[in-house]
């Protein structure tokens, strides 16, 4: 599957500086991060100074300047999820995936990224974990362990399939 070029993503928004955040979000969705090349191209197409592109890309949480892992686990740490124990879940994810950053991070093999979000607006069914866009309500440590194990297993299967 080939990814659309930055120019295609920008589309008819060329020379419209006010579309910066929208364009960066679209790039983030396709490439999962804003690379140096992408930022330069956006600066060129929209007519926004490169430093402003980086400023926005580092300001907004939805945008990432680092490549993210193949599988993204997002843990909601909103108030409602917090009082229902989202913190231990984050600790557990860090321990299981051997991440040393405080608020998530990406595993060395690039298989997982753990990140936190302030609220997903699904507070009634918290704590919530999102794996690659799929919401998993009423998370517990046991459920999280099996979720991570299931992804690992699927990845290993894919790995052996590719070898044979």
């Amino acid at each position: 599957m080939s990814q659309p070029s930055i120019e295609t993503i920008v589309g008819d928004r060329k020379s419209q500086p006010h579309q910066l955040i929208e364009v960066l979000q679209d790039i983030q969705e396709v490439y999962s991060y804003i690379s140096q090349e992408a930022a330069t191209a956006v600066s060129h197409y929209l007519g926004v100074p490169l430093i402003e592109v980086f400023r926005s890309a580092s300001f907004y949480k939805a945008l990432s300047l680092e490549p993210r892992g193949k599988n993204v686990i997002t843990l909601c740490t909103g108030t409602a999820c917090h009082v229902r124990g989202s913190n231990p879940l984050l600790d557990q994810a860090q321990a299981l995936l051997k991440l040393d950053h405080d608020h998530g991070g990406t595993t060395k093999d690039g298989l997982f990224t753990v990140e936190c979000v302030n609220c997903l607006g699904a507070c009634a069914i918290g704590p919530i974990a999102v794996l690659n866009g799929v919401y998993h309500p009423h998370m517990t440590s046991a459920k999280l362990t099996s979720l991570i194990a299931a992804v690992r297993e699927a990845e290993e299967m894919r790995g052996t399939d590719a070898q044979t």
């Binding site: 955040i21 108030t79 302030n118 507070c123 309500p137």
Partner: protein
């Protein structure tokens, strides 16, 4: 559908759609909102479609997929009308049985009924559910009746009638007078009188003006804006069109958080549909009024809920607020007069125009009119969206609607208003929920988040949580907010980790005042609220942390220890295997022990223990039984 060119055409279409709706005999309504989707409602919906076809009922039974109805905890939920039969927590495997027995037949499947957690009784119909019954669902009841992806549904329930009425019967000043007379105040947290805001914007100099819908619901623990925008996007668009007519704008923006993908999709779709049918765009309903709306996605920054930061973000810039010595109604988006209102505020406008200001003002209190949606979450039995008249006592919301505490633990506090709000103790639960009363008590209505906390919640930890949140979200532009929050967090962290000293409390109180008085925007000005309110009502908890180095709730990690009760432990090994830090040791069938040095106090061990053998103690005192 053809483009509507005149108001009479809208009325004809509405009559047609209403007739079609009246002919619907059996209707299955399933929630397809974010919460229910997370509980796999889409699989249930697919199965219903397939099963209706299999049983050849697809022509006679209407399946309506609605947006969020605010009862997410019990999702996926389903109502079968006209019997009003209510089923919850449905899985695809139940569908065949539901269709044959309750749709084709007249039986009731007991196991799928809702059980009232307070009485343990099974409840058959939606109307009998106490959670709904005690509410006054003016806005939310619309979510129940419409498919947010079908403009036909909204028109059928009387949608866009208010816009038509305004365009023919109301001069812009009359609209402003009507909204003003209703007493509607901003639902996003500020509580500013909407009519007054519109009047200033209309009076502001300039040809080009804008209306903006603030759907950047960053307050963690509140999701009524998600629910309304996702479940009833046309009401928001209609409200914005009415506002645009009143102030003289031709362009509107909906600024919505990207964390709400369904709300983004539904508002975009609603805009497309409204344009197609001629309810947005040039010369709406032949009146000569032009108005169009665009969606801008937020980039995950809490500060962008602040009006000036939001406008900067719509302009494609970093979301930093500016001083508001000149208000946005005069100098807003692209330096033009701009009216910014919250989702719920906009959505309230059509019903005010349809039913009159008097109808809206008949609900609520002297200073706070109408109904307000609250997101009731946390340690309470029924969580979900609660719409009640302003002035309803906290006790009624938490106990009558919320059903009281989970697991029989005592409710200690309720946190209202999100990071800008405060924590109110159980002794104040008779307070009425309105703008003035809550503010006087040291909290605020805010956007309507209500997080219920029980004795398992540590109030020092709550203050720490909000400060950490605000530190992370502070844009860093002004010093008091950027550094003040950091210093307050430093002190609270000291306290929560056992390094607290008595003289830090007055220091904290001094900092609170400085940050409140000198910050640039509302984020900083209100940032100390969680600290002030917990200090005011839960000072003894702070003192226990400082003097006794003890966390009474058993939350603050540095002050607690997990202990295995040797008498209860059977040595089953569940905790030993669950511990990610290999801190639990012991031979099979013999009581295990926790290595205090290796223990990171994550609590995973106690979660899995069937024998309740693992407890928390702090300062040598047991905290609570798990």
């Amino acid at each position: 559908m053809p483009r509507l060119k005149a108001i009479t055409e809208l009325f004809d279409l509405r009559a047609q759609l209403q007739a079609a709706r009246a002919a619907e005999k059996t209707v299955i309504t399933v929630c397809g909102g974010t919460g229910c989707q997370a509980s796999k409602s889409l699989a249930v919906i697919d199965e219903i479609r397939a099963e209706l076809k299999r049983q050849q009922l697809d022509a006679s039974v209407k399946l309506r997929i609605t947006g969020c109805q605010g009862f997410c905890e019990n999702g996926p939920i389903m109502v079968i009308d006209p019997r009003n039969l209510f089923y919850c927590r449905i899985v695809p495997e139940d569908v065949k049985e539901i269709i044959s027995q309750s749709v084709a037949g007249t039986e009731v499947i007991e196991r799928l009924l809702y059980t009232d957690p307070a009485t343990g009784k099974k409840i058959r119909t939606e109307a009998e559910i106490p959670f709904y019954r005690a509410q006054d669902r003016v806005l939310l009841s619309q979510n129940r009746q419409i498919d947010p992806c079908a403009i036909e549904d909204y028109v059928a329930i009387g949608g866009y009638t208010a816009l038509a009425k305004v365009l023919t019967e109301f001069a812009p000043e009359a609209v402003i007078a009507e909204i003003g007379a209703s007493g509607l105040r901003g639902r996003g947290g500020g509580g500013f009188p909407t009519g007054k805001k519109w009047a200033s914007c209309r009076a502001a100099a300039g040809d080009e003006k804008y209306v903006v819908c603030n759907a950047d619901e960053g307050d963690p623990g509140a999701y009524m804006d998600r629910s309304v925008l996702e479940g009833n996007p046309h009401a928001v668009l209609e409200g914005m069109a009415i506002g645009a007519w009143a102030i003289g704008a031709e362009q509107g923006y909906v600024y919505v958080r990207k964390e709400y993908p369904l709300a983004v999709a539904h508002s975009r779709q609603a805009i497309t549909q409204a344009r197609e049918i001629g309810l947005l765009g040039a010369n709406i309903l032949g009146s000569g009024f032009n108005f169009d709306v665009q969606v801008a996605r937020g980039g995950g920054a809490f500060i962008c809920g602040e009006s000036t930061a939001l406008m900067a973000s719509v302009e494609g810039k970093v979301g930093e607020p500016r001083a508001k010595d000149v208000h946005t109604v005069e100098d807003g988006l692209w330096h033009r007069p701009t009216t910014l209102n919250n989702v719920e505020t906009w959505a309230n406008c059509p019903s005010i125009i349809n039913n009159g200001a008097h109808w809206f003002a008949s609900k609520g209190t002297e200073g706070s009119k109408g109904t307000k949606i609250f997101a009731l979450t946390g340690q309470v039995r029924n969580t979900g969206l609660v719409e009640v008249a302003m002035g309803t006592p906290l006790r009624r919301i938490i106990f009558d609607i919320g059903g009281g505490a989970i697991n029989g633990r005592a409710i200690k506090a309720v946190q209202t208003g999100g990071p800008s709000g405060g924590c109110l103790p159980a002794s104040l639960f008779d307070l009425s929920v309105d703008f003035e009363t809550l503010e006087k008590a040291g909290s605020m209505v805010g956007s309507g988040g209500m997080v219920v906390m029980d004795e398992k919640t540590c109030m020092v930890d709550v203050a720490k949580y909000f400060l950490a949140f605000l530190l992370d979200e502070s844009c860093g532009k002004c010093v008091p907010c950027r550094i003040g929050i950091d210093r307050m967090l430093e002190i609270i962290t000291d306290i929560s980790e056992g390094r607290g000293r008595p003289e830090q409390i007055p220091l904290l109180e001094e900092l609170v005042e400085t940050v409140q008085e000198t910050s640039l925007c509302a984020l900083g000005k209100t940032a100390p609220n969680p600290v002030i309110s917990t200090l005011r009502y839960f000072r003894d908890e702070y003192l226990a942390h400082i003097r006794e180095k003890r966390c009474p709730a058993g939350v603050c990690r540095e002050l607690i220890a997990y202990v295995i009760d040797g008498e209860k432990c059977t040595g089953c090994g569940v905790c030993l295997r669950a511990c990610p830090y290999e801190a639990i040791k012991g031979a099979k069938k013999e009581p295990h022990i926790i290595d205090a040095l290796a223990c990171r106090k994550c609590g995973i061990c106690s979660e899995g223990c069937k024998f309740e053998a693992i407890t928390i103690s702090s300062g040598g005192v047991p905290c609570y039984s798990m």
